[in-house]
């Protein structure tokens, strides 16, 4: 794997100024005359380095600062403090040479024209990114094949399902072969089958094309399946940056043992620390169970633990 650093931030900070309106009609009138603002730090001194070819997951609860970080990395918004370098550029300078090297897909923002077909949008993006005709045709064929959407390229976008639309958004984003792909909640609202397909495609793109991918998602399945490395953000600060398996190993502490019996109580469920599983099994076996299953901690519980304990350790 190429280890060239392509994203580097140091103490990156973003502070928003928000108008605070007092309650009621009186508050609204007062707001016309004298406005009070509060400052909110969305991203607080985040230092981050990403090397070419990496697949990095960015997780955190709602309002943690993940999307704000992505917006700064893509130049959509300007940082308030710290330094930032993406592909050798200061993103908010909004240079076309920089924009040609990355792509961003935000689950709730679309580049597609709803009234037109995907091929119409792709033709537009071919010209916008100045892609040679032969390369354009090759890429279009490759992605239409990879995503299994060959039959949908000439269908009006607004008639596509959410999952199909997300595949098309990804094709539009990948058409110019970006070096970095920023994905903000790409599987939001998708069913299990569509999410699984998207994950498979992203893995292939990262592996086969060497595209660096930075992914934010609330679905831990996305992060666990795809990202070797995970960055956890809470209240704007980075609380973990390291291996994904290591992260889950650290916080996925318990196992859930379910035993089924022929006689009352028929079924028994216990949650025990990983290191006490043997003892628990030994005890359960004395009651001659008909069946036993052992499962990992529920993902939701693990995530809650990561955010809560990570925050305490960081404090």
């Amino acid at each position: 794997m190429n280890t060239q650093k392509i994203i580097e931030t140091k103490d990156l900070t973003k502070t928003y100024r928000r108008f605070q309106k007092k309650e009621g009609l009186r508050g609204s009138i007062q707001g016309l005359i004298k406005r009070e603002y509060e400052e909110k730090t969305a991203v607080n001194s985040v230092s981050l380095t990403v090397s070419e070819g990496e697949f990095v997951g960015l997780i955190g609860p709602n309002g943690a600062g993940k999307t704000t970080l992505i917006k700064m990395l893509t130049g959509i918004i300007a940082p308030t403090g710290g330094s930032i370098d993406v592909l050798g550029y200061y993103p908010n300078d909004l240079k076309n040479a920089f924009k040609k090297q990355y792509a961003v897909v935000m689950g709730q923002k679309s580049q597609l024209f709803m009234e037109l077909t995907v091929n119409d949008t792709l033709r537009l993006f071919k010209e916008i990114y100045e892609i040679p005709e032969a390369d354009y045709r090759d890429s279009r064929e490759y992605f239409a094949e990879l995503f299994g959407v060959k039959d949908l390229m000439n269908v009006q976008v607004r008639t596509l399902s959410l999952g199909e639309r997300m595949k098309m958004e990804l094709i539009v984003a990948l058409l110019h072969s970006p070096r970095v792909l920023f994905l903000d909640e790409p599987t939001i609202g998708l069913d299990a089958v569509a999410s699984k397909q998207i994950r498979k495609f992203l893995k292939e793109i990262n592996h086969d094309r060497g595209t660096t991918i930075l992914l934010t998602s609330h679905y831990m399945e996305d992060i666990r399946t795809l990202c070797d490395r995970t960055v956890v953000i809470n209240h704007g600060s980075k609380i973990y940056d390291g291996g994904t398996e290591e992260l889950f190993g650290r916080y996925q502490r318990n196992k859930r043992i379910t035993a089924v019996f022929d006689r009352p109580p028929y079924r028994r469920e216990v949650e025990v620390p990983k290191e006490q599983v043997n003892d628990a099994l030994h005890e359960l076996m004395q009651y001659e169970p008909k069946d036993i299953t052992i499962a990992e901690d529920e993902i939701g519980v693990v995530v809650e633990r990561i955010y809560r304990e990570g925050e305490q350790q960081n404090a």
Binding site: Y16, K71, T74, G75, I76, I77, A78, N92, L94, N96, A97, K99, K100, A103, V104, M106, Q108, K109, S110, Q111, F113, E115, L116, D120, T121, R123, L124, F125, K126, E127, I128, Y129, E130, Q156
Partner: protein
């Protein structure tokens, strides 16, 4: 340049996607024609000329002026920008390698190309269905000046609306600006009443404003009036375009950094 041509083509295609819109636009255009015809017929019932216009001269002015006014649809730029900046989706224009002003100008061209067809149809209905003795200047130089002025005027309107859209970064809400602009334009462009009907002092003042050159002067030139103002008009509107471009550069550089992209 190819990318902007493709943007224009794409927006032209979006206009063609909705057949009901096409039909309603046609009905609306013909309705306007009928209303204006009846109105001026009543006004000219007791007079042969008003402000130097005969009935047919006035209708010729109205046909040309309506043609240009309906083509001038740049208000969509400021509205689109204001809405997208407020709801956070303006980022879709920021992240692609284009000049954002150029993108909106190309988008406007695509929409205008679509309406050009209906405007020609409307002018045709006016002239032939109502039997109007259409007055069109014969001097090729004046026609060229009028067309150049219309193009510059429309470009100026794109610039103005883009500039007002940029102000959303700072003020968040620009509806008041848009309302003032729309009312001023309706009056100063002479699209409601020819400026020739106003007192001389007011018209002299309006000559300093860019709006005078957007539809009014080109329409007057094409109907054989104000020939002496042709060259000066092109110079004035060109100067306004340069001034507005400088204002856009400064405002964009200063205010785009205020975009917080929140909303969605």
């Amino acid at each position: 340049m190819r990318k902007y041509r493709e943007i224009a083509r794409t927006y032209l295609k979006t206009q063609l996607a909705w057949r009901a819109d096409v039909l309603f636009n046609m009905v609306f255009t013909v309705g306007r024609i009928l209303f204006a015809y009846l109105l001026w017929k009543v006004i000219f019932a007791e007079k042969d000329t008003i402000g130097g216009f005969t009935f047919h001269g006035m209708l010729s002015y109205y046909i040309i002026s309506s043609f240009f006014t309906q083509l001038e649809m740049s208000h969509g730029i400021s509205e689109e920008m204001a809405a997208r900046i407020r709801n956070g989706t303006f980022s879709k224009y920021i992240v692609i390698p284009v000049n954002v002003e150029g993108y909106f100008a190309a988008m406007e061209s695509g929409v205008v190309l679509f309406y050009l067809f209906f405007d020609f149809a409307a002018a045709f209905i006016w002239i032939f269905l109502f039997g109007i003795e259409f007055t069109l200047v014969k001097d090729g130089m004046i026609i060229a000046c009028a067309l150049a002025m219309v193009l510059l005027g429309m470009f100026f309107m794109v610039q103005l609306n883009f500039f007002l859209g940029i102000l959303t970064f700072k003020y968040e809400e620009i509806n008041t600006f848009l309302m003032i602009k729309n009312n001023l334009i309706a009056l100063v462009t002479g699209s409601i009443v020819p400026l020739a009907l106003f007192p001389d002092t007011i018209v002299s003042f309006m000559r300093f404003l860019p709006f005078y050159y957007v539809t009014y002067l080109p329409s007057m030139l094409l109907t054989g009036k104000c020939a002496g103002e042709a060259v000066r008009g092109i110079i004035v509107i060109s100067c306004w375009c340069i001034v507005m471009q400088a204002a856009i550069r400064i405002a964009w550089k200063r205010y785009v950094r205020r975009f917080d992209g929140v909303g969605i």
